[in-house]
Amino acid sequence: MNMDKLYCIGYIDDELIEKADKYISKKKKCTFKKLTALAASFITIFLIFAALISFKNKNTITAYAYVTNEKITSTAAVIKTGTISDSGEMKGHQLIFYILGENIEKIRFSCKNQQLDFKDWTEKRNEYANAQNFEISYGNNKKEYKYLTISWIPNKTISELSDNENAKIKNLAKELKEDIIVMEVTFKNGNTATKAISISLSDNGKFLASFSDYKIKKTDKFVRRSNDKPLNSTYIDKNENTNKISSIKNERKSVYKLSKKQIKKAEIAAIRYYSKTIFTVNYIKFDKKGSAKLHGKKYQFIVNVSKEGIIQNPDRMIILKKNRKGIWKVTNEGY
């Protein structure tokens, strides 16, 4: 008898579990209490409705840490998901967060010193890796917002600590210990808001983050940088020479038949492969440029892994090929 399927159901969202539990409790109340509760509900709904009408122009967003679902507040709090040592070794995950709010049309992210990865788990939007400036359309379905994750990657800090034997966190330059992610939010009703997540690295290797309102200053040149290109973009710069344009077209030609669903299937095959090794996959992304250089139906993915809880650098590479039966097989793996 297969318990694995019931085991997998254990990974559904907390919100669904709580909702199902609380719904039952309400049904058990007696009629008199129900009527009282009902009356109270109507009054509450009326008051909320009145408040909503009077405050309808206010739009707010909140930021949450992805793994722990902990709200990032205006008070600087330790990010419990990861730490870094003087040798540049990361334990756990750097900050990964998502934004929740009402009627968000789009958010433009700008990272001052380090880099950002953006992943859309619903696979409807362009994704970004090692980017500093990009814009994301959020759309009408606010249930999707939780699945739009932004990872902050302190690559420069990690490199400085790991490349330099004598480097210590306490002696690092300010731009390697502090960073800011500015979010320019546009709501459906045309209102805008600017928020920022401030990150700092304390001497003991822990990261602190806080989320607050932000006012863009004239000296914030990083916000005015142009947007980075997404990972799966079909963008072609018309100002580039014809050789470069034709090489981009060839790159698109070699991978154009690989749909998002096929990429997802290949990713699952890669994750299954790593589940039998000593590595734990943190994230995996399709390497379009790398794949274009391969012959035949081989495709390359970049994988970030951890070994015994320690994030491994640099990222690993895995190549998969689809056989005639449509099954993805690993043909090569390594650095």
Partner: protein, 185 residues
């Protein structure tokens, strides 16, 4: 005591946290475990293991918004693991029935140690459930997470058993189509 305050006690490493957790949620958690284990002594052991695991996980976890879901997930996992390991426990007809129902719509995972795949599948099922009405979501979660019987679900929702059966049958069919579309099957 509010969940937020109980979680804060865990953060402060105050052992009263476990006492307050047990006072508030013991019966609900034992209920979940009993549906899997069907043995009172083992259920009590699972309950104690749950409090121990909760103590270990908070911090770094901070489930102040979904504390009961956090506990329910832990005791459910512990109970399923105990059920697997202890062949002396009575074979649970309800579990057999639930597994058979899910056979057609959820794929087998190659290895239980492939936690990433199980999490991916759990996320996909969540996304699917959000496309359904509240009543259907609750039916599915009560049936396959809380492992309630059809009769219990019908009583709690004040609807007929045949409506529960029909709705679940249709939801499983839609889930199968959804997972096929997402190429997870």
């Amino acid at each position: 005591m509010e969940d937020e305050k109980i979680v804060q006690l865990y953060f402060n490493r105050d052992e009263n946290a476990i006492k307050y957790t047990a006072d508030k949620y013991s019966s609900k958690l034992c209920n979940i475990s009993y549906k899997i284990i069907r043995d009172t002594c083992t259920v009590q052991e699972c309950e104690n293991d749950t409090y121990m695991e909760t103590w270990k996980r908070i911090p770094p976890s901070n489930p102040k918004d979904y504390f009961f879901a956090f506990l329910a997930r832990i005791i459910r996992t512990i109970s399923i693991d105990r059920y697997r390991k202890e062949t002396s426990l009575k074979r649970n007809c309800n579990i057999v029935e639930l597994s058979k129902e899910l056979d057609n719509c959820i794929p087998a995972i190659d290895s239980v140690e492939s936690e990433i795949e199980a999490k991916l599948l759990g996320e996909m099922v969540s996304r699917f459930l959000y496309t359904l009405s509240d009543e259907k979501q609750i039916m599915f979660v009560r049936r396959y997470f809380y492992m309630e019987s059809i009769a219990e679900i019908a009583k709690h929702l004040s609807i007929t058993e045949s409506k529960v059966k029909t709705s679940l049958f249709r939801v499983r069919g839609k889930l199968k189509i959804y997972l096929e579309k997402e190429e997870f099957l």
